[in-house]
């Protein structure tokens, strides 16, 4: 079995892809499911999100430049969602990086959303589903590598490698393992990342803290092939994979 790490999406893929956007969408997603959400639609377009949410009576969540757009129910802040009940509801989450990264993932049999927050759970699920390769794919920031996702990939890679020492390392796997070992704690890596700097400039330090918590959630948001691309650029996730 191969363990591949890409610091930005570099398809094609062939088996299991764990997409990482630790600040903040892939931390928010498991929290939403923990809080009772049924389905999560990811979408890059405010207009499409508004139309779908209105038509289906879904909640509107998301960000533009780190903050909630006008008319949205909520932003994209883990610090807020952690105390909010979403039982029986579905939501459309607008974000810049994650849907774009999903659109660059080709050939994957299974696509999971991973972060520090659901680390152990996503590792178990990846092992359960994979037959030849687990690819940890960082979303990065605006098409470039960033430290937050690279560190998170390193943490997940270290846990995977500990569980199965025979995993063959590919791509940036070895580098992210070194990166992970070099940081005394996860918050420091998130803090020093480009995205971390940006969120701090908006006063969102608490989101960094929550995103640095490890294995708090058992929820593994997964996209199922059969329900992918119901509409262009609208990606449906649940935890039933």
């Amino acid at each position: 079995m191969r363990l591949r790490v890409d610091l930005i999406p570099k398809g094609p893929y062939s088996d299991v892809v764990v997409l990482i956007d630790v600040l903040r969408s892939c931390t928010v997603a498991p929290i939403l499911f923990e809080q009772g959400l049924e389905k999560l639609y990811l979408c890059p377009s405010l207009r499409l999100a508004r139309a779908v949410a209105k038509e289906q009576d879904y909640l509107l969540l998301g960000e533009r430049g780190g903050l909630p757009p006008e008319g949205f129910n909520y932003g994209n802040s883990p610090a807020f969602f952690i105390n909010t009940d979403f039982s029986g509801q579905s939501a459309v989450l607008v974000s810049e990086n994650l849907p774009k990264a999903i659109s660059n993932i080709t050939g994957a049999k299974h696509l999971l959303l991973g972060s520090l927050y659901n680390a152990e759970a996503v590792i178990h699920k990846a092992f359960e589903l994979a037959s030849e390769e687990i690819a940890l794919v960082c979303c990065g920031m605006l098409g470039s590598e960033d430290l937050d996702d690279s560190f998170t990939a390193g943490y997940l890679a270290a846990r995977l490698k500990r569980a199965d020492n025979k995993l063959e390392l590919r791509g940036a796997a070895a580098m992210t393992l070194s990166l992970f070992r070099a940081f005394p704690n996860p918050l420091e890596a998130l803090w020093h990342s480009r995205t971390g700097h940006y969120l701090r400039s908006l006063g969102l330090e608490e989101d960094l803290a929550i995103s640095s918590y490890i294995s708090q959630s058992e929820a593994v948001p997964g996209q199922r092939e059969t329900i992918a691309h119901e509409r262009a650029n609208l990606y449906c996730f649940d935890t039933k994979l």
Copy 2:
């Protein structure tokens, strides 16, 4: 002016490329010139290196798996070269990563070898030569990203950015800046890299220490267009650029 960082070579390039292989070839190269070497030929092939060295009466330096091959004058150890006089001599250096990386650099007008050891000097030379872009290109290890070169790129990027705050960041520039800021000292980054682990397993810790010294040398090895590719896979460098 653009400041671009690539964690592995990803040509084409258009202007100045600073190639980084901090452990160890790009640390060794300025040391050799400091110690009096006239010309340095980089070469991936033992056979070609032996033939050229014999024909031209050049010294044979280099490594296979981190150690000097049979019949070579010296290995590739900065700890050794730092006390050796090379006045009036030229040498062929066989290494695995650096010549391969050079062969992947297309379109560059000027190609310089950079490391921590010649940091200030290579920064000055890059500014002097560049008209539109300075690209810091990491050699990586066996085709994958590694922490030693990524950290070094971050250090050089930070110095370049401090000298000219208007530089537009491209590629992994921002991530390597974060990386650089996160490490308390350079040796720690080299120590935790994949290449660093490997050299430590060979007992070459002193090479890591010397490679972590900053701006000890004024020598900037540069490849000149007119003398490039005298033979296939044989790259000639001097400090006269």
